[in-house]
């Protein structure tokens, strides 16, 4: 019996659907759903986590990340400008910083600030200061490379046009190149904010008072506190998703209508003479 290509494709889809349905049925039958519910979705004891998991945990996570991101953005912009500077020492310093902090685990920076800073310099940083400084230090290294790529994606003619009008270099950078670069890097910067949100959990290694607890700390403590299996971690995880999923949708939206798309299109180069010229002559 000869099958047409379309029939064969339909048959293949049917077989795949049948196998998938069979697996689902088997799982439904063999899994102990009460055990799953008890350890992952044990709602009643975990209700005690509310509202603190939102008002304290989520709030602290957002705060640490926000300040870390803002200072990381400032530091990253400075590093990006150093990376493209004409003075080579600036370039070397920026490259050294970026390679160093991208190359080590972020958790080392948290430990260094949480324990090392007080031991070495007698600095007593609050949890907010520790977390946002560590995030800023690490974030700046990643953000710098993103912004550098954005600055270099702005067509060279933009800077030339600004300088030809008589703008000093710093003014042209500030009013022409940086605003356009930021439009280009807005989607990747949003992804950077997502990464920092997740990295804010690393403050957990330093330890913190209950009022400074963020989502991971609350989830971890909840496991011992509520006898609800892993449910507190599930709650913490959902809270992270409340931040990261909207951000990632936002990033995708911005990518779809990227401002660079129409304006970066280069006009086509024409042949040396056009019909009009012979008309004028």
């Amino acid at each position: 019996m000869a099958l047409s290509n379309r029939d064969r494709a339909r048959l293949s889809l049917g077989i795949q659907a049948a196998i998938f349905a069979a697996i689902v049925v088997v799982l439904i039958v063999i899994i102990d759903w009460t055990a799953v519910q008890r350890s992952f979705f044990n709602v009643e004891p975990v209700m005690a986590m509310f509202p603190e998991v939102i008002t304290v945990g989520l709030w602290n996570t957002v705060r640490y990340t926000f300040f870390g991101f803002v200072f990381g953005l400032i530091g990253g912009t400075v590093l990006a400008l150093m990376r493209i500077a004409s003075f080579p020492v600036y370039r070397w310093l920026a490259t050294l910083y970026i390679e160093f902090f991208r190359g080590i685990p972020a958790i080392l920076v948290f430990i260094a600030l949480g324990f090392g800073a007080s031991l070495a310099f007698g600095l007593n940083l609050s949890t907010l200061q520790t977390a946002s400084t560590a995030l800023a230090i690490v974030g700046a290294a990643y953000i710098a490379e993103t912004i550098r790529a954005g600055l270099q994606a702005v067509p060279k003619g933009q800077m030339e046009a600004a300088r030809a009008l008589g703008m000093p270099a710093w003014r042209a950078m500030l009013t022409i190149q940086i605003p356009q670069a930021f439009r280009i890097v807005l989607p990747p910067l949003t992804n950077e904010a997502i990464l920092l949100t997740k990295d804010s959990s690393l403050i957990f290694v330093v330890g913190m008072a209950g009022s400074a607890a963020e989502l991971t700390k609350m989830g971890r403590d909840g496991i011992t506190m509520y006898q609800a299996g892993m449910t507190p971690l599930v709650v913490a995880g959902i809270c992270y998703l409340l931040i990261t999923v909207p951000l990632s949708i936002l990033a995708r939206r911005m990518e779809e209508r990227s401002p660079g798309r129409s304006s970066r299109r280069r006009p086509k180069k024409k042949a040396t003479t056009s019909p009009v010229s012979s008309g004028v002559a």
Partner: protein
């Protein structure tokens, strides 16, 4: 010089002349300009013609120092453009430049493109800058598009905005770097006619172009460059109509009759 380089005080709007002597410029191993001597009298229009790679764009870009010459001197009005201590920003405020790719600022409206430099650099009030910008946009026939973004305009319209933007700085000299080469054929005319009006109003203009019709009608003088040297220069009618140098004749034959009839 000292009056001119200071931003404060009334700017002179008299057309400036250009004098270029012994200009050399190399990119790496390649010597693009091999000793150029030429001048533009105040109020004159000079067209630079020549094949791709002849150095005409580089020569133009040396005048406002977008390129740094290796040797030679350039004087623009009262500015010694090649002097080590020249205030380049002040000098460039007196030299308008129009690029092949327009180079409008895509994140700003048409009006903002024309007001940002007068406001931020010359410190003009918003009202004054906008009035001047709208006046210049009116002269190029685009006042009604002042609120649009450059991306919403046709190539010809963008280039007209670029001309208006340069003119809002009240330049004494205008440089045009192949202003119509990136345009669709049907919009070339609108840009050329604005340039012709500007020339008739007495602006000093140095124009790199392949538009021989424009050069013939508008230019006071035409300079033919080949391989980094001035091969022939003189009145437009003579250089384009009756060239004496074989290389000029050859170039014009190819440009005016691409099919070689």
């Amino acid at each position: 010089m000292s009056d001119e380089s200071a931003n404060a005080g009334p700017m002179s709007t008299a057309p400036a002349g250009v004098v270029i002597e012994g200009l050399h410029k190399s990119f790496g191993e390649v010597e693009v300009l091999k000793g150029i001597d030429m001048s533009v009298e105040p109020g004159q229009v000079v067209c630079l013609i020549g094949a791709s790679g002849s150095g005409k764009s580089t020569l133009l870009r040396c005048v406002n120092r977008l390129e740094d010459p290796d040797a030679g001197s350039i004087t623009v009005g009262e500015f010694d453009a090649t002097h080590a201590d020249v205030n380049l920003d002040a000098m460039r405020q007196h030299i308008g430049m129009v690029f092949q790719q327009f180079n409008l600022f895509p994140h700003l409206s048409v009006l903002e493109n024309c007001t940002i430099t007068p406001r931020r650099v010359l410190k003009h009030s918003r009202e004054k800058a906008e009035a001047e910008a709208l006046h210049q946009l009116d002269l190029v026939g685009l006042k009604h598009l002042a609120q649009r973004r450059p991306a919403q305009l046709s190539g010809g319209q963008q280039q007209r905005v670029a001309i208006a933007r340069a003119l809002t700085m009240q330049p004494n000299l205008m440089l045009f770097d192949e202003p119509t080469s990136a345009l669709d054929p049907e919009t070339v005319g609108e840009v050329l006619s604005i340039m012709r009006d500007l020339a008739r109003a007495g602006m000093t203009m140095l124009v790199v172009t392949h538009e021989m019709g424009f050069a013939r009608e508008v230019a006071d003088r035409v300079v033919f460059l080949d391989q980094g040297l001035v091969v022939e220069e003189g009145p437009a009618e003579q250089v384009i109509g009756a060239p004496t140098q074989p290389r000029t004749q050859d170039f014009l034959r190819r440009v005016l009759n691409p099919l070689g009839k």
